[in-house]
Symmetry: C3
Subunit: 312 residues, 3 copies
């Protein structure tokens, strides 16, 4: 079977995405057992390479691998040297010496995953590469949505609100939501929208006046460096909170509120919305089952839906 | 079975403590085997969350979990952000997404374990929370004592010497020693004794004149910041060593010398006492079996003493 | 069976070395399987103690242990305190409390492994101690050479080029190459050669004029601190590259080029030599099988060559 990477949502067909979500669903009962573990990937080696610190994502992948009985290695930040200083090609040689089945890479540069994939025999999974893609986050968002709205997301409307410009989460999310037939509206001040983004087949709004049309309200984290002098993206976090911040009062009943975390309470999300009914804990919870499904499918293959049930 | 935490020695009855120590004893032969491992907690997930660095304690819990065949995750210090900056409640959501059976927490704030326990479905084990409690240290001390003095500690006299004021080890130790029927005497300069400590049912002395009465001499580590200008706890470490430091010459034959480590040789303990006959290595050695027992009992339950032998 | 350490190549006989290399070879097919794992060391505990950061070497040992089904613990740098501040004897007590079968030690001081070995019940494996020895590197180099030149290295000529003076790799390598019957020539400016090195039974050259005689060209990494003002070892890296740097043009066909990594491209090795035909990737790749063999033999014993095959 040819090697399979997951670097961008574009690496998947709609059928692949649905198979991944079904596989993740089949793992949910495993997570409720006393023995939260299947032997499927016993003896496989899965390496986490996190050039940017992201201990929660790294832990989630690491635990997903252990739940599948794989052996894991984790390299963090400085352990592999300057991400720009050494040829990724040389790092690939080092990693290949461990004969991994999968390398999971988080890297500050868009495109790093493709370079690594071209130089290793392992499958490469993108855990976030610069402003490019974060396909795992997208898949767990879709999973949490399906758990809440049901399997058919066709025609559902999602509003993505915030810093679209710098967000790999937005970039992956737009592709994934659209792949499952959803309507995507981006809402942000013009400074935080990439030019020509409409070409991705989305609507664009510069205010929240139509928020009531959304079935799903997806907030992006606002980083404080957007307000630094010279950045000129935002006048202040307080101003952002006033104009764009989502409180419970701004939502109508039944709207699903999502956020990839970590939350900036009082900025893009009010404390009452964070503590009220929303899908945020469900998104976090979905991470493990979805990552198990990704690792499983990457090794076992995407084409045959029956294998999952057999392996369990 | 209802979830069981171990946050304070007060969470245990005398029967629980004795069961834990018996369980730990039953694990000793396992540690002597070639295959130092039992399958009891296979597929369980145990997460170490150490907001304060304590690599040895963390490693001891991690290895205890592995010896029971559990899967482990370790989060250290900055990995989860400022301990005071983010609501422990949000961290609990993150941890719960890994569906752990047990979360082991070390945290700079007294009471953090209770907050975590109120917000997670996992059992919480306290690996030290501020100046509050360190129940694991207490249990391994009791275990080392039983190995040396025999199972019946009733009426034995222990002198705890040093910085009682800032010591969670002292606080847990007093409770544990008394629970097994020991007489506890605290010996320290008045600046290092909490007011009203006598209410815990202990004797208090301000000099070492009655040291000969002790069966067990338990030294606390003296931190150098006690002598910082403005701290006013101690004039100098040299003065402390002269007045309070324990050398072999100060001990009578048969007295058991204990210290929770790491040692300040030449301050609270002389080099000859550190290298002479004492229970210090035995305390360190006890850590693994006792932590295995705690993890085991937390998952399997405290009430039925026969289970241990079956599982082995 | 008495405990067996691997602290210096001198701890091995020629027969031991050949057995280790044969054992490593027997592990190669395991690394090609889907389940890259043997149960041989199940329930054994192997502790990595790395006082100097060396994440790749540490990961290689850790993964080798996992491939043999052992449980592993890793202590890094500051986790065990100042290497010179606490008695290694006290650290040995801590480590012994985990009842490890093997402790793998990297330490900045030559001789630290011997001190540790005298104070622990575990076997000690040297992963590099100051300027003293790096026996694992030597063995993987020999393994890579055997894979390339065949089992009989008798009479082959190796030129070791570069900073012999500060190199534990050179020190182990000289012993190992000679043990298998190779002729060793050291090539370096006089400032980078230890006095009296000829007593190890090697030839010494101060220029590359006879490079054509070499079957194997072994380059050492040149650290930039050699050119610091006051160091007086080298005028400049550029000058070093001009005089001593190896490019493809300087090699004749069939010569095996080796380097322990990480490479200083453009200094001791040119980019075209680094990217051309050489044994460098093979050296890296050999690390895992050789470390598996070392761990395996340390536990199971060196004397009986048949055991390997049975265990697999």
């Amino acid at each position: 079977m040819p090697r399979r990477n997951l670097i961008s949502i574009e690496d998947l067909t709609r059928g692949d995405v649905e198979l991944l979500l079904d596989t993740a669903e089949s793992f949910l009962p495993v997570l409720e057992r006393d023995i939260k573990k299947v032997p499927t990937l016993r003896g496989r080696t899965i390496i986490n390479v996190f050039w940017e610190a992201s201990p929660r994502t790294s832990a989630s992948f690491d635990l997903a691998a252990k739940r599948l009985s794989a052996d894991t290695l984790v390299f963090r930040g400085s352990a592999l040297g300057d991400p720009h200083g050494e040829a990724l090609k040389d790092v690939a040689i080092t990693l290949d010496a461990y004969s991994p089945d999968i390398v999971i890479l988080r890297h500050p540069s868009a495109g790093a995953c493709r370079v690594l994939a071209a130089n290793t025999r392992a499958s490469v999974i993108n855990a976030g590469d610069g402003g490019h893609q974060d396909p795992t986050q997208c898949l767990l968002d879709l999973f949490a949505l399906r758990q809440s709205l049901g399997r058919d997301l066709d025609g559902r409307r999602v509003f993505i609100i915030g810093d679209i410009l710098h967000s790999r989460v937005a970039r992956s999310g737009i592709m994934g939501f659209k792949m499952l037939g959803m309507d995507v509206t981006l809402v942000a001040p013009p400074t935080l929208l990439p030019r020509g983004i409409e070409e991705m087949g989305v609507d664009v709004r510069h205010d929240l006046s139509e928020l009531g049309d959304a079935d799903v309200v997806y907030l992006l984290r606002v980083e404080s460096d957007l307000t630094e002098p010279g950045a000129a993206y935002l006048p202040s976090l307080r101003e952002y909170a006033r104009v764009w911040g989502i409180s419970s009062a701004r939502l109508r009943p039944g709207q699903r509120l999502m956020h990839p975390g970590p939350l900036n309470r009082g900025v893009e999300i009010s404390a009452d919305a964070a503590d009220g009914e929303n899908l945020i804990a469900s998104q976090v919870f979905s991470g493990l089952a979805v990552r198990m499904a990704i690792l499983y499918r990457t090794v076992i293959g995407y084409s045959d839906g029956t294998a999952t049930r057999e392996a369990l």
